[in-house]
């Protein structure tokens, strides 16, 4: 079988299938593995992590079960998480207990109201979706409390592109996982993580091919036949696509292989927003004091999902990388992330594009200087990534960094009912996004692939 794409869902799907005894070929168009879970180097000894900014505690269990003890043991808790905006400013443990305490002491919310909110989240059932949005859920529990809404959603917005207009049900599930027992990271950086994963895949006999661009997923009589890349056909009994859902259906397979009803439903799926990032590397020998690990900052007076995506938003996260991130390497880096829209960036002329990037860098430096006075003089390398950068490197449509909106979940889960032997795992809806969601979705899809391959053998026998 073939896995197309090596994001965390593709990687984890591949490892589960290999452990189940399947013969797996993993193809990735980029020269690295990991999709957005990746890193890059720059002259001067700089290493930057693209999305290693924090994931939930559950990642440890997922890595222990599907990867290795060594990988799971490298997962460590972040020491500091801070909010700083005109509505509130504090350090948090990022645990349920601490959020409850802050809601009482900082926001003055009645304990009973907090209890009701958490109780409702705990009762939320994936199969009984009321159709309510996140914004409506917040308004019902904490009416008029935009500051509370900000606390409850802003971190998740950066982690997976959630908006106030997204379904409350998806938020409920993510909140329970994410904002419950701290934020974790990978000691050694994304490079160590992905290299460990690659070694484990190779140990299990997975064939990995980088720089292979799959042009088509081949379908015959409603069943997957193979993939075509560089003019060659690789025949296989199953394909697990870790490409974007819409790209899988419309670009790799082609609408003609689906029922019109299904193709229509995919056409209506909205893409999630993209991101901008500014990577700042400190000169060798320079250091900064510990500020915090993860800083959610904004000067916007009120929280608004749309403001978060504006081109000149002041709402961003700073991820501070100290020597503890890569033990043995005495280096410091800071990565700023904002949410962004493809449509704001893709039509700019080359000159406009460069000047908007320069402006983004300048505003980010001004902001970080506020928290770490004098840091500007220590920064040796700085560069910006935009939705166009993500589109270029990851090939996600419109550079989306969080896959599709929630409605992508159903067509993703039912893809194999349209084309037998074809499965999808990738960011669809906020449940299946982010580090943990993507990895677990890879497992869920791998189970279906394995069942399909098992049924083929039974028929042949």
């Amino acid at each position: 079988m073939v896995v197309v794409g090596s994001g965390l869902a593709g990687l984890t799907g591949a490892v589960v299938l290999a452990r189940a005894g399947r013969k797996v070929l993993l193809v990735e168009q980029h020269y690295n593995l990991g999709g957005l879970a990746t890193w890059f180097k720059r002259r001067g000894g700089h290493v930057f992590d693209v999305s290693l900014h924090g994931f939930p505690a559950g990642m440890k269990k997922t890595c222990r079960k599907y990867w290795s003890k060594e990988i799971a043991d490298s997962i460590v808790r972040l020491d500091g998480i801070r909010f700083d905006n005109p509505q509130f400013r504090f350090d948090t443990e990022f645990t349920r207990e601490d959020f409850v305490a802050k809601l009482q002491s900082v926001f003055g919310v009645e304990p009973a109201a907090i209890e009701r909110f958490f109780a409702e989240l705990a009762r939320m059932d994936f199969y009984s979706d009321s159709g309510e949005t996140v914004g409506e859920l917040f308004e019902r529990h904490f009416p008029g409390r935009n500051d509370v809404h900000r606390l409850l959603l802003e971190p998740i917005s950066y982690a997976n592109g959630s908006h106030l207009s997204d379904p409350a049900i998806a938020y409920g599930i993510v909140f329970g996982n994410f904002m419950a027992s701290g934020v974790y990271t990978f000691s050694g950086g994304t490079d160590k993580l992905v290299k460990s994963m690659k070694a484990e895949l190779e140990r299990l006999g997975v064939h990995i091919r980088n720089r292979v661009q799959v042009d088509r997923i081949l379908v015959e009589r409603g069943r997957v036949r193979g993939v075509e890349a560089h003019g060659r056909v690789i025949a296989c009994g199953a394909v697990l696509s870790n490409a974007n859902l819409k790209a899988t259906v419309e670009r790799l397979v082609g609408r003609e292989h689906f029922t019109s009803e299904y193709a229509e439903s995919v056409a209506k799926v909205r893409l999630n927003n993209s991101s901008c990032q500014v990577y700042m590397g400190l000169r060798e020998g320079e250091s900064i004091p510990f500020v915090t690990d993860l800083l959610f900052t904004s000067t916007a007076s009120r929280f608004d999902s749309l403001e978060l995506c504006e081109m000149d938003t002041s709402s961003r996260t700073f991820s501070f990388y100290y020597p503890k991130t890569r033990p043995g390497l005495e280096r410091y880096a800071i990565v700023a992330s904002t949410n962004a829209h493809w449509s704001d960036w893709n039509l700019l002329s080359p000159a406009e594009y460069e000047s908007r990037k320069a402006l983004l860098v300048e505003r980010t430096l001004e902001s970080v200087e506020h928290y770490v006075p004098g840091v500007r003089g220590k920064i040796e390398h700085v560069e910006a990534a935009t939705p166009r950068t993500f589109e270029f490197y990851v090939q996600s449509p419109e550079g989306t960094s969080f896959g599709t909106k929630f409605e992508g979940l159903k067509p993703s889960m039912t893809l194999h009912e349209q084309v037998r032997g074809l499965f999808h795992a990738g960011s669809v809806g906020i449940i299946m996004s982010g580090w943990l969601g993507a990895a677990n979705y890879g497992v869920i899809a791998a189970n279906k692939v394995d069942a399909w391959l098992h049924s083929l053998v039974e028929v042949e026998a």
Binding site: V16, A20, K65, N440, V443, I444, A446, N447, D450, A451
Partner: protein
């Protein structure tokens, strides 16, 4: 496989998924989730291991049958007939 062997087979699978859990006191008529920490991903792992070790395919709509050890025995007995117990793999 008889009843005792099926229980042994399931416990051995659970032990690989949740290595830190003590399974010696598990009651057969109480939901597994109420006795040890098992989430929906863990149940998926049980299903995958059953397929791998015994060639038993549990369709998604039947996952609920595996909620208790007694349920596992009732559901799996016909599928496990003639299969050899594999533990510690």
């Amino acid at each position: 496989m008889n009843r005792e062997e099926i229980i042994l087979a399931i416990k051995d699978i659970i032990q690989t998924i949740a290595p830190d859990e003590d399974l010696s006191e598990l009651k057969t008529d109480v939901r597994l989730r109420d006795q040890i920490e098992l989430d929906s991903m863990d149940f998926l792992d049980i299903v995958m291991e059953l397929r791998k070790r015994y060639g038993v395919q549990v369709p998604e709509e039947d996952y609920k049958e595996l909620a208790t050890l007694d349920g596992c025995v009732a559901y799996l007995a016909p599928h496990m007939q003639g299969k050899t117990l594999k533990v510690g793999v």
